[in-house]
């Protein structure tokens, strides 16, 4: 009768169980067969998205400087409110302050993971709320080099992924992954190449390839700040269009997390209150 070892073995198992489950979930494929680049890519995207869970809501301001090839500048100023929705895409409200002729115009988006987003535009001159098509994801946002697609949070389900390599990015080490839109018609791109650091999974660079697979735009992101000791948010985003030589610098500021925002502020009634 060798009773004594039984206890330690079981307790070790109990202790290890969560780790095993976790490593089975994350690492199982590597035990059975080497993880495919697609699996690694999906894992990174899923983990990056999971790290942003629970932020609740936030508000911020966006200031854009649009530059053409000759260096002429034009400005955009807007306020952004975002509400986290569990099990679906987030809800967001953008209100324009500049240019002044569109002041008070507001865009309400109910993003969805699977189906097309719902969008309503508020036109203050007519006090009209207009449901608009959300299939214009590849169109320019306010004449800038950003498209609606570039500015919306990339829902994990909207892409398939492929891990390419690790490489240094500044002082950090980045994973380099490709992502491909699931709904090819809904995207302006055939693929995107994304650089994310291994420590915090923050995105530092994205290269956009158009439908003919030529390198159209490059986005570089910097000045990250951390909020509530957890959530990283970009401070500066620079989009360069290699085809036209135009660029847009988007500066985020005045981040505030877990404000008094409620679900009701993201309704059509709330949209009419935006100003």
């Amino acid at each position: 009768m060798r009773m004594i070892p039984a206890y330690p073995v079981r307790s070790v198992l109990v202790l290890l169980a969560p780790c095993l489950v976790l490593s089975l979930w994350l690492g199982m494929p590597s035990l059975v067969h080497p993880a495919t680049p697609e699996e690694i890519g999906l894992k990174i995207a899923t983990e990056a998205s999971a790290r942003d869970d629970g932020f609740g809501n936030f508000t911020a301001t966006q200031a854009m400087v649009l530059r053409n090839k000759q260096g002429q500048e034009s400005r955009r100023q807007l306020r952004v409110k975002v509400l986290e929705v569990t099990d679906d895409g987030d809800k967001s409200l953008m209100v324009f302050d500049e240019p002044r002729d569109v002041k008070g115009t507001a865009l309400l988006t109910h993003a969805h993971k699977q189906e097309a987003d719902d969008q309503w535009l508020y036109l203050p001159a007519l006090k009209r709320v207009k449901r608009i098509s959300s299939s214009n994801r590849s169109g320019s946002f306010m004449g800038s080099e950003f498209s609606y697609e570039d500015l919306s949070a990339p829902e994990v389900e909207k892409y398939t992924y492929r891990y390419l390599r690790d490489e240094p990015c500044g002082k950090l080490t980045c994973t380099v992954c490709e992502r491909f839109p699931v709904d090819k018609k809904a995207s302006g791109y055939s693929r995107q190449v994304v650089w994310q650091d291994k420590d915090e999974l923050r995105t530092w660079k994205v290269e956009y390839y158009d439908r003919k697979d030529s390198h159209l735009k490059t986005l570089t992101i910097g000045n990250y700040t951390q909020h509530l000791d957890r959530y990283w948010r970009a401070g500066e985003m620079t989009m360069v269009n290699h085809l036209t030589g135009k660029s847009t610098v988007l500066n985020w500021a005045a981040y505030q997390f877990r404000t008094k925002l409620k679900e009701r502020d993201f309704s059509k009634t709330g949209l009419k209150r935006a100003r």
Partner: protein, 453 residues
């Protein structure tokens, strides 16, 4: 310029403002969080290539400007006060030189369990509807017909507007204690599609006249891709019956230039429906309404011919205008081609059909068409450039008569604060039997140079 209407609106709004500010004050200390002054100044010019029907009074061009500042004050709880006055100066028509309090309201809102309530007290503008060729069910506000014949610009309306927002939709109630009559261009003004109106003598069916309490309600909700609204309005019509009373007007010669008609506002009830289905780049739209109590606009010429005209008064003439129930509808769609030909530009194509049971006696919200059986075709070219350059073209054609109009608009931002608007509105042809025949020579070009602050 009808000062009376403006004075009433101002007085009323002041009462509302005072009452609601006091109500708020009684409950809580107000701590102001933000205030903002914005608005626009617009230099405008209209040019009419053809002389008008009344060349001794009307001129072929008019210049002027618009001032529209907006003051917004918000407290820490999100409650706010908005004041938005409007002033237009017009060089040709003293009536078109007018001012209005477009908005002057207190906005309060809060939670009630899972739901939300919102109250707007004061003068405000409310928009209902989905279609582009006309806003058929939109009835809360009177239109500012002096601004543009397309009926899109609206006068402020004193109201108590209560909104209830819940999971099952949005329910709104409107108490409308005061009626704003539509003001028509004066003798020096063009675009007098219905002839000359007596803005000083306004007749009401209700003994309470403009103080008749009107009510409206609307339920709206989004079901996935479908946005739907059902509305009801009970009270003073926003559209006038134009009554031809001798001796100021000769019913036998309805298109006589010297005729001065009297606007009459009946008590009506309107049920409205508006719906839009948004599927990818397609928008499918429907507006429909049923109205009772309206005495129909113009016409009935034969009946008035048969009547002995000497010595009869307003009531006798009014008796000739039949009270008719009727239905009207707009149905159509819009499709947008995004990023056409590899550029950043979008092209939107629109088509709508307008129906009105009253036929050619329908005096519509927008002019100069009767919109009884009319097709609308539109195109919108949005360049999506830094200047937000846009070109819009709209063609309206009567399916059964030879009345056709073509309108084009061009918009471009010149800098962060200046922008340019150019438009043309052409009457390609008009049927002589159309009730708006007097406006047949009033095609025009319009220019705005706008400064936004």
């Amino acid at each position: 310029m009808r000062d009376g209407a403006a004075r009433y609106a101002l007085a009323l709004t002041t009462i509302w403002l005072a009452a609601s500010v006091l109500a708020v004050e009684a409950h809580a200390e107000i701590e102001f969080a933000a205030w903002e002054l914005s608005g626009r100044v617009s230099l405008e010019s209209r040019y009419f290539p053809r002389t008008g029907i009344d060349p001794s009074h009307q001129s072929s061009n008019t210049n002027g400007f618009v001032l529209e500042p907006k003051l917004y004050v918000e407290d820490v709880e999100g409650r706010s006060v908005t004041v938005l006055p409007f002033f237009r100066y017009d060089s040709a028509d003293p009536v078109r030189t007018h001012w209005d309090l477009r908005e002057a309201y207190v906005l309060l809102f809060g939670e009630l369990g899972e739901n939300e309530w919102e109250v707007r007290l004061g003068a405000d503008r409310v928009f209902w509807g989905v279609t582009e060729s006309q806003h058929l069910v939109d009835i809360v506000n009177q239109i500012d017909f002096l601004e543009h014949p397309n009926g899109k610009v609206k006068l402020g309306q004193p109201m108590v507007h209560v909104t209830w927002t819940a999971d099952w939709g949005v329910l709104e109630f409107f108490g409308l204690p005061y009626h704003r009559p539509r003001i028509f261009p004066g003798q020096g003004g063009r675009l007098r599609f219905a002839g000359l109106l007596d803005n000083e003598r306004v007749e009401y069916q209700s003994g309470a006249e403009e103080w008749h309490p009107d009510f409206a309600a609307r339920y709206s909700h989004s079901f996935g891709p479908l946005d739907i609204g059902v509305s009801v309005f009970d009270g003073t019509s926003r559209e006038a019956t134009l009554v031809c009373v001798p001796p100021a007007c000769n019913p036998r010669e309805i298109s006589d230039l010297s005729n001065v008609l009297i606007p009459y506002y009946a008590q009506i009830r309107q049920f409205g429906l508006d719906a839009q289905l948004t599927l990818g780049a397609w928008l499918f739209k429907l507006e429909a309404m049923h109205r009772s109590g309206e005495r129909n606009a113009l016409g009935l010429q034969q009946e008035s011919n048969a009547t002995e005209l000497r010595g009869i008064g307003f009531e006798d003439i009014l008796g000739l205008y039949r009270e008719e129930e009727y239905v009207a509808a707009v149905v159509g769609g819009e499709y947008t081609f995004y990023s056409v030909f590899g550029s950043t530009a979008d092209i939107g194509l629109l088509a709508e059909w307008n129906y009105d049971e009253r036929g050619r006696q329908a005096l519509p919200r927008r002019q100069p068409l009767t919109l009884d059986n009319d097709f609308f075709f539109g195109a919108l070219l949005a360049f999506n450039d830094v200047e937000s350059t846009e070109i819009k073209v709209a063609f309206l054609t009567d399916a059964s008569r030879a009345t056709r109009t073509l309108a084009a608009e061009f918009d471009r931002r010149l800098s962060d604060q200046w922008s340019l608007h150019v438009e043309s509105s052409s009457i390609l042809s008009m049927d002589p039997d159309d009730i708006q025949w007097v406006g047949r020579r009033d095609s025009f070009f319009e220019f705005h140079l706008e400064y936004n602050f």
